[in-house]
Subunit: 124 residues, 2 copies
């Protein structure tokens, strides 16, 4: 059968809190080679997403906290969502990654266009 | 035959100069929905690349110019390079996009993991 989100997603998701500083998120991106940071509240519930794009465009604006730049209407995928549907979702919304959530909305993983593009490398 | 870079690449590439400010690049990213900005010299020759990731990690460092944060050893693709080989190149270097260059090294286009992941959406 065609792969689904949980087959390709990264399970150890690095997250941040809305009250964290933009500088602290920049340091997380600097330490790692990724571009997506799901934002969760004190109970671990997904409340937003910040990408390196959000931080780049915040340069020179004087904004300080992640709560000022996060996108709150997060586009997500479910664990059993087929990857072709997810690829179309990324294309439609012009985004490069989605958090993967369980039936109760809890954060289970993250899947990016880089994970999907890897499959193209394995086609032949 | 399998698609090659020139079949999928974006041909109108937005570029910047090494002497441009980080803030001016942040404004380019803000206006558009992309993450990769090839850097060219006064003759149009490719001399580096800056991504939203580079700008994000520069936050709080006091750096001002793109010349201070660009990656100069640019990984590129050629116009007739098969896309599966390009996907493997992105994976190996953990990058999310490559400028596409002609035989003389001139910038012809840009191809990102988002362009490749779109193909997954069309598989069925
Ligand atoms: C349209 S994208 C383009 C740049 C980049 N490729 C990216 O995904 O951030 C930029 C905006 O999309 C938002 N975004 C990224 N992933 C998202 C997701 N899964 N759900 C909602 N918004 C998202 C970012 O927060 C940012 O405001
Ligand atoms: C390892 S990537 C990971 C973050 C992000 N996905 C990206 O591609 O920028 C971060 C570094 O790769 C560099 N980079 C991105 N595309 C590149 C390319 N085609 N050639 C060389 N370096 C590149 C960026 O300039 C940045 O310093």
């Amino acid at each position: 059968a065609a792969p689904v989100a949980k087959d390709l997603m990264t399970r150890e998701v690095v997250t941040a809190r809305p009250s964290d500083s933009i500088t602290s998120a920049a340091k997380i991106f600097a330490k790692r080679n990724f571009d997506h940071l799901p934002i969760v509240d004190e109970k671990g519930k997904l409340v937003g997403i910040v990408t390196s794009w959000n931080i780049a465009v915040a340069v020179g604006t004087g904004k300080r906290k992640l709560s000022e730049i996060l996108t709150s209407k997060v586009i997500v995928a479910s664990e059993n969502e087929p990857i072709d549907a997810i690829a179309r979702k990324l294309e439609t919304h012009r985004i490069s990654g989605v958090p993967v959530v369980g039936t109760g909305g809890e954060l289970r993983g993250i899947l990016t266009s880089e994970d999907l593009s890897k499959l193209i490398g394995r086609r032949r």
